[in-house]
Symmetry: C2
Subunit: 372 residues, 2 copies
DNA sequence: CCAACTTCCTTCGAAATCGAAGACAAGCCG
DNA sequence: CGGCTTGTCTTCGATTTCGAAGGAAGTTGG
C-alpha cells in the first residue's frame, strides 16, 4: 500500500474518518484528490461503501468502511503462563479472541513456534476464505529494543535475553512482524479509547508493574525500557532487596507477585494476580490493606511522573485493575501531592478497553506497518 | 512564508541543510522541486548562495545560507533580577547579546514595557538598516499555558498570575510573539547542540530547579507545567516545608535559593546562585558538601525519570552548572540506581550552549512561528 | 593525464494534486 | 410543499510536483 492511499485507509481503519469529506479534512488533501484515491481503494476492494452516515445539516455522507475481506492481522498478548490470541480485521475489530495456556519459561523457540501454530489454528477455524493474513504481532512481558526487535534483559523471561523475537517469528511469515513490550501495546490500545487525550500514562498492574507512555498521540519507546517504574526506590518501613539488586524497589512491595507472596504468607491460596483482586472484591481485610498500600506506593511514584509529564489521563489496566482500593489509593496520592496545574484536568481511571487492550494495540501498530 | 518554502528555509536556518541536494534529502521533495523553490527564495533575498561547500566525492555543492537581511528576531531570557536580551538573525546567530538588570517583582506591565523599550534600544543601535524585525520572544521563570500564552500560578513571579504575557507583548508589535518557560526554552536551545539526541532532559539549576523535556526532537509542554521536578518529595533527614505547602520538596533542599540560604546561615556572603558556584570553585568545604548533597537529591529524582523516559542525554545548565560536584553527584546517583538499559548509552553532561541557551531556544521556536 | 565514478544541479515531459464551480442530497422552515 | 441553507461529492482546467535523463563539476586511481 503506497503513501496517499495508505494514509486514507488508515484514517478509515482507525475510525477517525467515515466519509470522503472527513478524509479531506483530516488528510489535508483536496476533496477531489480524496475522491480519486477512494475510488481506487473501492476498486481494489480495500474499502466498501456502506449506506449513509448522519447528516450534519446538509447532504448525508456516504459512509466508508474497511472491507472485511481486505485482510487479517494475527496478534498475541504473551503472559508468563498464558497467552491471549486474536484475529483482527484491518480496522482492528476482533474476529475471535482466545486465551490459551503456555509457558514462556520453555524458551523463545518453543514458545514462538507454539504461537505460530496457534495462529494457524485460528486462521483455519475462523478466517473467511480468501482473506489474506497481512501482519503478525505479539507483546512480550519485557523490554524490547525498538531497533532490532530483540528482547533485552527481561527479568521475567528466563532464556529470552537478546533473542531476536521478531526475526524468529518472521521466519514463519513473509509479512510485517511486530514485537513490543506488553505495557506499551496496552497503552497504544487504550489510547484509541481516549480521544482527545494525546498524552497518556497507562499503568499495567499485573504480576509485574509496567507502564506505557503515549506522548503527542504516539508511543514513547525510549531505548526499549521506557515506561519502567518497577525499580524506583520507595519510602518503606522495612527493607526488601529486589531481584535487580537494589533495596526497596516499587516492584518488591506493590507488584502482583509481591502481593501474592504476602498473602500466601498469611495463608491465602493465591495463584495469579486476579486472585488478589478477587480477595479484595470479597472484602478480605488483609488483601484490601495490602492492595491499598500498593496503590499508595504506586501513586507516590506517579506523582513525580505526573508533575514532569503532565499527562491528560492515567489509565489503570492489568489484572489488578479490578481492585478498587488500588485506584483509589493511586488517586489519593496523585491528587494530594501533585501540582494543581498538573492535576487540574487529570483523569485517573480504569481501563476502557479491558483485557484486550494489548491485542488492539498490536493491531493498531501493525496497521501502520502494513500500510507503510 | 508559505509551506514548502518555509520548510526549506527552516532547514537551512537550523543548519540541517546547506545545499539543494541536502534539502532534497531532508525535505522529501524531488530535487527539481527543491531547485525551483530555492530559486524563488534567492529571488526574494531570503536565501543567498555563498561559495561552495566541501565535496563528498563528487561535484561540490553550492552552499546556501539564510540572508543576513532576511530579518531579525528579538529575544529575552527573563530572570528574577536581570534579563538577557539578544537580537538574532533568522538562522539563530546572535548579532548582540546583553544582560541588563531588571526586577520582575515590579509586575508584568512594567517589566514587559521595559523589555519592549530595551528591544527598541537594541534595534536602534545594532540592527542593520532595512532589515525587518520578524518576531519577538521571551522566557519567563514560571509555567506558561501553551494555549493562551498566560503565566499560570508562578511561584517566583509575584503579580504575574494569569497575566496574558504574549498578548501584552504583542500589543507593541504586529508580529509573532513567543512566551515560554525558561527551562523549556533552554532545552530547545540546547537540543540543537545535541544532534542525534532526540530525547533530552535539560536541567536548569539556578536559584530554582527546572527541567525541559525534548521528546522525539520536540519540546514537551504538557499542560504548561511539564518538566517540573521542584516539588518532588525527597528522602531527607530533617523536615522542611516548601512554599507549596508540602514537606520535603526537592526545591527546599537542592535549589540555588536553598543553598544560598544554608550558606548565608553559615556566614557566607552569597547574593546569587553563581556565588555558590564560585565558593565551590574556591573549594570551600561547606559549599562543596551542600552542592554535592543537592546533586545527590536531584540525581535521585532523575533516576525515576530516566527509567521512565530513557533519554539520550541529560544536560545540566543554569548558573550552578559550573559546580562540578553537582554534576558528579547527579551522575553517581543516576548511574548507580537506574536500569542498565536506560543508562547504557546515557550521557550526563554540562551545557554545550552556555548561558545563551534559552535565547537560542527562543530563536528556534520563533523561527517556526515566523515560517508557519 | 585521462578515463571512470560520484555527487550536484537542471531540463523537460508526465503525472499527481489542487481549487473553483457546480451538481447533488439532505434538513429547516414557514 | 417549495424555497433556503448546509454539507457532500464530482468535474475539469490550471498548477504544482515528480522522475528520469543529462550536463556540470568534482574526486579517485591507474
Amino acid at each position: 500500500m503506497r503513501g496517499a492511499q495508505g494514509d486514507l485507509l488508515r484514517l478509515v481503519a482507525t475510525g477517525q474518518a467515515e466519509s470522503r469529506a472527513e478524509l479531506a479534512r483530516l488528510s489535508g488533501l483536496a476533496p477531489s484528490s480524496v475522491s480519486l484515491r477512494v475510488e481506487e481503494l473501492l476498486d481494489a476492494a480495500l474499502l466498501v461503501e456502506e449506506g449513509a452516515g448522519t447528516s450534519r445539516g446538509g447532504r448525508r455522507p456516504r459512509r466508508l468502511r474497511v472491507s472485511p475481506t481486505a485482510g487479517l492481522l494475527a496478534v498475541a498478548d504473551l503472559g508468563a503462563h498464558h497467552a491471549r490470541l486474536a484475529l483482527l480485521d484491518l480496522s482492528g475489530v476482533p474476529l475471535v479472541v482466545e486465551e490459551r495456556p503456555c509457558d514462556i519459561a520453555l524458551g523463545p523457540e518453543t514458545t514462538l513456534d507454539w504461537m505460530a501454530a496457534a495462529f494457524d489454528d485460528l486462521l483455519r477455524s475462523h478466517a473467511p476464505p480468501g482473506v489474506p493474513l497481512r501482519g503478525v504481532g505479539t507483546s512480550v512481558p519485557g523490554p524490547v529494543d525498538p531497533a532490532t526487535g530483540r528482547v533485552v534483559s527481561p527479568s521475567r523471561m528466563p532464556g529470552w535475553n537478546a533473542f531476536p523475537v521478531a526475526e524468529h517469528l518472521g521466519a514463519h511469515y513473509d509479512l510485517p512482524v511486530l514485537v513490543e513490550n506488553d505495557a506499551n501495546l496496552m497503552a497504544v490500545g487504550e489510547a484509541r479509547a481516549w480521544p482527545g487525550c494525546d498524552n497518556l500514562m497507562v499503568l499495567k498492574a499485573g504480576s509485574g508493574i509496567g507502564c506505557g507512555l503515549i506522548v503527542e498521540g504516539r508511543l514513547h519507546r525510549g531505548r526499549g525500557a521506557a515506561g519502567d517504574i518497577s525499580h524506583v526506590r520507595v519510602r518503606a518501613d522495612s527493607s526488601a532487596i529486589c531481584s535487580c539488586g537494589h533495596p526497596d524497589c516499587l516492584e518488591a512491595y506493590a507488584s502482583g507477585a509481591a502481593l501474592m507472596g504476602a498473602l500466601a504468607d498469611r495463608g491465602f491460596a493465591v495463584h495469579r494476580p486476579a486472585d488478589v483482586a478477587a480477595l479484595v472484591a470479597d472484602a478480605v481485610p488483609e488483601a484490601t490493606a495490602l492492595v491499598r498500600n500498593a496503590g499508595r506506593l504506586i501513586g507516590e511514584v506517579l506523582t513525580v511522573l505526573v508533575n514532569f509529564i503532565n499527562p491528560d489521563a492515567i489509565v489503570v489496566g492489568g489484572s489488578l485493575s479490578g481492585a478498587e482500593p488500588l485506584i483509589s489509593a493511586v488517586r489519593a496520592a496523585v491528587y494530594e501531592r501533585c501540582l494543581p496545574l498538573a492535576t487540574r484536568d487529570l483523569e485517573i481511571a480504569v481501563t476502557r478497553t479491558g483485557p484486550d487492550a494489548a491485542l488492539l494495540g498490536a493491531g493498531s501498530l501493525l496497521l501502520d506497518a502494513v500500510l507503510a
